[in-house]
């Protein structure tokens, strides 16, 4: 079989691709969330497993040739909508987390449920010295445009 036909054959699997992966049969390891939508990880877990890779443990961000924004004291967090859209769509190289699972894997990103997006948005708005008012719900996140084919654009 030629590489081309093989790739095309594989392409058809995309839509169902992400279902498994809790499999991370390493899965017995509590330190690793499942790749199937991160299981039931909550906002704090999502922050410490994913977000802090760039935004750092205390939300302090980092500066090199470019920078990762500081979340501590970040005024843009006043708008839950702005932060939720950033998590859903990504921004300037930040991967999107609102893609459907199948499409998330295509670009090696990860999928968060609307409830998880809400939870992590609530987390960053109320930690690192932030005290923004108002709790965001999964329904509010669900009402926002989502990226990807078949998203709510």
């Amino acid at each position: 079989m030629s590489p081309r036909s093989r790739r095309i054959a594989l392409g058809s699997l995309g839509a169902v691709a992400l279902v498994a992966a809790a499999a991370l049969s390493a899965g017995n390891d509590a330190a690793f969330t499942s790749t199937a939508g991160l299981g039931d990880a909550d906002g704090a877990q999502i922050y410490s497993h994913i977000c802090q890779g760039c935004h750092m443990a205390q939300g302090q961000g980092a500066v090199g040739a470019g920078y990762y924004p500081e979340l501590a004291g970040d005024r843009s967090l006043a708008s839950w909508r702005y932060i939720a859209l950033t998590v859903l769509d990504g921004r300037n190289g930040m991967p999107p987390f609102g893609l459907p699972s199948s499409q998330a894997w295509e670009i090696r990103a990860a999928h968060l449920s609307d409830a998880q997006v809400a939870d992590v948005v609530n987390y960053v708005r109320t930690h690192f010295g932030n005290h923004y008012q108002g709790t965001v719900s999964a329904a509010q996140v669900a009402a926002l445009p989502h990226p990807g084919i078949g998203g709510a654009h």
Partner: protein
């Protein structure tokens, strides 16, 4: 062979894709799944022709990675006045090897001191060069960078599933031989039951049967059984030898059902993709040798430790403000040229003020960068060679480390050895990125010990690079989706006034150095035509 298909997890399609992704470097999996999945041979057709450069014309190049240095080398040779600004104190960018004595500070401030022995290294970025990446290979030749073979497929390395065969790894030759043998036997049965009479002529059925016996190592009855033919593929229980102990003992194939249930068949095609086919290469001494050779060749053209602060074009040229990182208290310096080739990775470029049009601006902001992590582990001895006869190549596993890469050089050397102990993508890479470097190393050791029990006893030291923490890229490489590529790719590549972008992110060979090389050659060809046209007007 077990008949109980429900007792164990059935390998899922995602596992398959995962394995392909791990098999492939960079974007191969993404390409396999996207509509863009064609096996594109590099468009490189030999050294570029840039004759006729206008007298005195100048080009400022941002970034001394593969794209920037390709552009600098060719434009300089064509007679342009060239200056390169580079953030790091070294040339190469992601073309990079970590060796003993190197110090690496990632974003967030964690500093690692590489304590590998002399001559040992890991390549945190690219580590293999396909034979058809002729642009990059051409520069290796012109720069005198010696190459050696990169082993993609090692028949004696492992395929490992933590949920199959009691968590014990199997040799690649066993899985490949048995999978192929069983498939050949089944197809031979179909032929002999005349099930193909309609679609295959009698003569072709005879040939097909013969080819199946040959391809699948079947016995005289077209069966895949324990015996000489199958052992010649999968290995013997006791190898043939000399003298009185010479007689070989054949091995027993794994049953088809067990192979299928294990999911390890997903690793069989690891070397079949165009990007992974023999022959692959690596530079002798580490991938970083290419960047180092480019850096030596370009010499003082490159200004190191220069952090670009802003990029501004006007009717006559391009001015770039930058900061000397070795003198942080000083003010901004300015470099100016007629034209600019900007190879700064997009997450960084998106944050730098630059007066280009809205289409290029939108394109720059549209490309997420992949998370990827590599961990290098030094061990007190080359136990994988001494104990397990694994010389080079890659073991694939469903553990989060996903790869163990064995050194394709220095075989049978006494002393210590360095493995690539993890090469991780996706969510697991994000999770490893979020850890402190020493925890990444510790976890790579713990997971790897499930495959090589020698790990804990032989481990010496390690170093871990998480690409989202890389101060000079903020990610591994640009991940185009089919939609974003359709909407933004041409706008990213199209020259805006006097500014051309180049890099793997401006290519269809994303995540590969050849993408950087060919994108640079494409960009400077277009820039050269503009410069010549303007020179004629002047």
């Amino acid at each position: 062979m077990t008949a109980d298909n429900t007792a164990r997890p059935i390998p899922t399609r995602r596992d398959l894709l995962r394995m392909i992704g791990l098999t492939a470097g960079g974007a191969a999996m993404y390409q396999a799944m996207s509509a863009l999945g064609f096996a594109a041979e590099s468009p490189y057709r030999g050294p570029i022709d840039l004759r006729g450069a206008p007298r005195g014309a100048s080009v400022l190049i941002l970034g001394a990675g593969m794209a920037g240095m390709t552009a600098a080398y060719e434009l300089r040779n064509a007679g342009y006045h060239v200056q390169v600004l580079e953030y790091n104190p070294r040339a190469g960018g992601r073309n990079w090897s970590l060796r003993g004595g190197d110090v690496y500070t990632e974003l967030g401030g964690a500093t690692q001191h590489c304590r590998f022995d002399d001559g040992l290294y890991i390549n945190p970025g690219p580590w293999r060069i396909p034979y058809h990446h002729r642009g990059l290979l051409g520069y290796c030749r012109r720069l005198g960078v010696a190459l050696e073979a990169f082993v993609q497929v090692n028949y004696n390395a492992y395929l490992h599933s933590s949920s199959a065969f009691g968590g014990r790894p199997r040799r690649y030759r066993e899985i490949k031989g048995d999978y192929q043998g069983h498939v050949a036997e089944l197809l031979a049965k179909v032929v002999r039951q005349s099930a193909l009479d309609v679609s295959v002529s009698k003569e072709d059925q005879e040939r097909l049967l013969e080819s199946l016996r040959d391809w699948g190592a079947l016995d005289g009855n077209y069966a895949y059984t324990a015996g000489e033919p199958s052992s010649r593929r999968r290995g013997y229980e006791k190898n043939p030898g000399g003298g009185l102990s010479a007689r070989p003992v054949p091995s027993n194939p794994i049953g088809l059902s067990d192979i299928l249930e294990s999911g390890l068949w997903q690793g069989v095609a690891a070397g079949d993709d165009f990007d992974m086919q023999t022959t692959l290469f690596e530079p002798v001494g580490g991938m970083g040798r290419i960047g180092e050779a480019f850096g030596r060749e370009l010499g003082s053209i490159i200004r190191y430790d220069a952090k670009v602060v802003s990029i501004h074009q006007d009717a006559a040229g391009v001015s770039v403000a930058y900061q000397d990182r070795t003198n942080p208290g000083s003010g901004h310096l300015t470099a100016r040229a007629d034209w600019c080739v900007c190879t700064i990775p997009l997450p960084i470029l998106a944050e730098i003020p630059m007066n280009v049009g809205a289409p290029m601006r939108a394109a720059i902001a549209a490309v997420p960068y992949a998370a990827a992590v590599k961990v290098g582990l030094q061990f007190k001895r080359r136990f994988w060679e001494e104990d397990e006869a694994i010389y080079g190549g890659i073991t694939y596993t469903d553990l989060p480390i996903t790869n163990i890469g064995y050194p394709n050089t220095g075989y049978q050397s006494p002393g210590k050895g360095v493995l690539l102990g993890a090469y991780i993508w996706g969510l697991n890479a994000m999770e490893f990125t979020a850890m402190a470097p020493q925890e990444r190393v510790q976890r790579a050791v713990d997971y790897g010990a499930r495959i090589h029990p020698q790990y804990h006893h032989e481990f010496d030291n390690g170093i871990a690079v998480a690409w989202h923490r890389s101060p000079f890229t903020m990610g591994c490489f640009g991940m185009w989706s089919p939609e974003s590529r359709a909407r933004h790719y041409d706008d990213l590549c199209r020259i805006d006034g006097r500014i051309a972008l180049a890099g793997e992110h401006a290519s269809y060979i994303g995540g590969w150095q050849e993408g950087a090389v060919t994108s640079a050659l494409d960009a400077i060809s277009r820039l050269h035509r503009l410069a010549v046209a303007q020179g004629e007007k002047a």
